[in-house]
């Protein structure tokens, strides 16, 4: 990070001069022209005529570039796909380039997250302005974190936007968008915490793993810190995070119960997309739950769509409406959660078995990885879901889900690309994929075994994407997400409620936003925060399903508020959630508790 800082300083000073651009175009003539034009603008240009090479370069070091310009039509990979991958994983601004000025294509580019769409032949004047996108992106992430942190200053600059939270911290100063808060923290030598620690997915994952290892009851900040072995993290950081985490777990278990109970309600079914559960087949027994979860999972659908997640920018658009919808719907459902929850375990068990077979398909999980962007790999460590292990196994679905999902996630670990594509396939195809999804989820659900089963079951369907950690929340959430995924396909078949299109939009947005969020704030890592906040009811579902990091993202995307949370970093989330305990109650009804959070930043 030091190097980054240094480089950052130099570049920031002269920005936009020296802005590092990666240009991708299969046509050598166009590429050379682009190269010349960009050099004329005094940018630092790297060119490649292969999308795959470009991705490799980006993966190696995301911070090597500030901006990516890519042609739409390329033989080795579709430009839109590259756009998704880059936008999701690396949260870099991407500009599309094409000889085709068809507005439909332009729309597609923008909805996929491109921050601009240029038509060939490109003119110098157009390129002179592209640096604005880099700044804009940084600025956009700032406000969200700010809104999230009601109580805490959103000291972390670039929380939302930057994937590398740690890097952000360091770069805060250099960053043009540096936040005052960050400076303030920096200026205060006596304050123990350096610029606020942003709990990135990565960081949170480590944290959860450490807590898991030590056992929630026995986890002490000092020991957790040692286990995590992260530079720059203080005991105080860990202590406060642990406190939030524990609150989160508690909240999740409450929610899980609610969710379970919720499943039984008839209203819920109407809201929820029953389909998700149904898709599982095995889950039919849990149908009641499923219903519950469906409603809650509405957002999950979004998750499912993560694959196709578009740019982050859209999330705000999407999330709010969806959230609201679900909120209303979920409300009735929640009431019954408690009751159902108890029953579900048994039924769940049955169901869970079957899905397991399908579990092999973790593509969904992987997808979530993709969304988390760089964190996907971390997802393996989503063991964090284990974070729930500390809680009451029976009543804490999260525990159930937590333990399993993480495992699953890791296995899927392979290429994000595959995931994305598979996930997208998953979503698009509706029919078959969802089941896979669910199956994957089952493993997670299994964890639920006990009370969690309900949620687990639900989750399993949804979790496919690694929602697992989230499931702990209330199961419902996880399930939701999974549900969404399934729902996506199922919904088309069944409910009209959350039509695929609806979700796709969300998912896209959700993912992108979530992904970015998750990455940015690392909130994803801790699904807890999300769940705590307002998830009580529906919202938690949203959060839950997502992978810790992912979830946060998704939540935001879906709920609209989630996004905010993510940016705010987990700390904020947790704090907020704690506060909203009361409100969460309300949320349980099916609303996404994070109203304040969710909508604020999103819109």
């Amino acid at each position: 990070m030091t190097v980054e800082e240094i480089r950052g300083v130099n570049e920031i000073d002269r920005f936009p001069i020296g802005m590092r651009v990666l240009a991708v175009d299969d046509d050598p003539t166009c590429l050379k022209l682009l190269d010349g034009l960009l050099r004329k603008c005094q940018y630092q240009v790297t060119t490649t005529n292969q999308a795959i090479t470009a991705l490799k370069m980006l993966k190696e070091n995301r911070n090597r570039f500030d901006l990516v310009i890519s042609d739409v039509y390329m033989p080795d990979m579709d430009g839109f796909k590259l756009l998704e991958l880059v936008g999701l994983e690396m949260d870099l601004p991407v500009i599309m380039l094409s000889g085709n000025s068809d507005p439909k294509l332009v729309m597609k580019g923008i909805t996929h997250g491109a921050c601009d769409y240029l038509v060939k032949p490109v003119r110098l004047e157009e390129l002179r302005n592209i640096w604005q996108h880099v700044i804009r992106r940084k600025v956009e992430s700032k406000p969200q974190s700010k809104s999230n942190n009601n109580h805490e200053k959103s000291s972390q600059g670039n929380e939302g936007g930057d994937q590398n939270v740690k890097l952000n911290r360091k770069r805060k100063d250099e960053d043009e968008d540096v936040e005052e808060n960050g400076h303030e923290s920096d200026d205060d030598p006596s304050s123990q915490k350096k610029p606020r620690v942003v709990w990135s997915i990565d960081l949170h994952r480590k944290f959860v793993a450490a807590v898991d290892q030590l056992g929630n009851e026995k986890a002490m900040p000092r020991r957790i810190l040692d286990l995590m072995n992260v530079d720059g993290l203080t005991r105080e950081n860990v202590a406060s995070h642990l406190q939030k985490y524990r609150l989160y777990l508690k909240r999740i278990s409450h929610q899980a119960n609610m969710v379970v109970a919720f499943g039984g309600s008839k209203d819920a079914s109407s809201y929820m997309r029953m389909s998700p559960l149904e898709g599982f087949g095995d889950f039919r027994t849990l149908s009641s739950l499923g219903r519950l979860s469906n409603a809650a999972y509405a957002p999950a659908g979004i998750l499912g769509r993560l694959n196709s997640a578009t740019g982050v920018t859209l999330h705000s658009l999407m999330a709010p409406p969806l959230v609201q919808e679900t909120q209303n719907k979920l409300r009735p459902v929640n009431h019954q959660n408690m009751n159902l929850f108890q029953d579900i375990p048994s039924s769940f068990d049955q169901c869970s078995n079957k899905p397991n077979t399908q579990l092999t398909d973790f593509s969904s999980v992987e997808e979530s990885r993709i969304f988390t962007g760089t964190k996907l790999a971390d997802f393996n460590s989503i063991d964090e879901s284990r974070m729930f292990t500390g809680s009451n196994p029976l009543t804490d679905p999260s525990v159930v889900l937590g333990s399993k999902p993480s495992l699953k996630l890791s296995s899927t670990g392979s290429d994000s690309f595959n995931l994305l594509s598979s996930s997208s396939n998953f979503l698009d195809q509706n029919g078959n994929q969802p089941s896979n999804f669910s199956s994957n989820q089952l493993p997670i659900g299994e964890n639920y075994g006990y009370s969690a089963t309900v949620s687990g079951g639900i989750r399993s369907s949804i979790t496919a994407t690694a929602a697992v950690p989230l499931e702990a929340h209330g199961g419902g959430l996880v399930g939701e997400i999974m549900q969404n995924v399934n729902n996506q396909s199922l919904s088309n078949q069944k409910n009209g409620q959350y039509s695929k299109q609806d979700y796709s939009q969300y998912s896209q947005n959700a993912f992108s936003t979530l992904a970015s969020l998750a990455l940015a704030s690392g909130g994803g890592g801790l699904s807890g925060p999300l769940s705590h906040g307002g998830l009580n009811g529906g919202t938690s579902a949203l959060f839950k399903t997502e992978m810790p990091g992912l979830e946060t993202k998704m939540r935001s995307g879906e709920d609209g508020f989630v996004v905010n949370n993510i940016y705010g970093s987990l700390d904020d989330l947790m704090t907020g959630m704690t506060k909203r305990e009361q409100e969460a109650r309300m949320m349980m009804d099916g609303e996404f508790g994070y109203d304040p959070y969710a909508f604020g930043p999103c819109t």
């Binding site: 046509d27 003539t29 166009c30 010349g36 060939k120």
Partner: protein, 152 residues
């Protein structure tokens, strides 16, 4: 600059002007010229050369595709789309116009129209190539010259 050189310069300028007047080239070519500077002294020629080398394969593929029966219009269209993109990058105006006609015929699934237009495309392509080659050669002979007479 001696008289001879001045004449050469004027000649080159005229050739260049006529290329624009006759619409062989458009503003994009000027963009290329603007990118040429001390750090990039032969930028324009490099790009044009690259274009001609690379686009040859498009023409070849298009020729092949046009031989097939029945014609695969979507493939023709996508090939031509790429070729058009390349051509427009160097400012090959007439070539680009013919490409557009070709694509129109493709969309209308007019095989005859496609084939006919393709011949035009090739003709314009070759003509421009010759003219540019002559232009560059002359420019090289007279040495890097100020582009004072560049029409704006």
């Amino acid at each position: 600059m001696d008289r001879n050189q001045m004449q050469m310069h004027r000649q080159i300028a005229n050739i260049r002007k006529s290329l624009f007047d006759q619409e062989y080239l458009d503003e994009q070519f000027i963009q290329l010229e603007e990118l040429q500077d001390n750090s990039n002294p032969n930028f324009v020629e490099e790009v044009v050369t690259l274009f001609y080398r690379d686009s040859a394969r498009f023409l070849y593929n298009l020729d092949q595709a046009l031989e097939k029966r029945p014609l695969d219009f979507s493939k023709l269209d996508s090939l031509m789309h790429q070729f058009k993109g390349s051509s427009s990058s160097i400012g090959a105006k007439k070539v680009k116009i013919e490409c557009t006609h070709f694509r129109d015929y493709c969309n209308a699934r007019n095989a005859e129209g496609c084939k006919r237009t393709f011949q035009h495309v090739k003709k314009e392509y070759t003509t421009l190539k010759k003219k540019l080659e002559a232009y560059f050669q002359m420019s090289r002979q007279t040495g890097p010259v100020e582009r004072a007479c560049r029409p704006r």
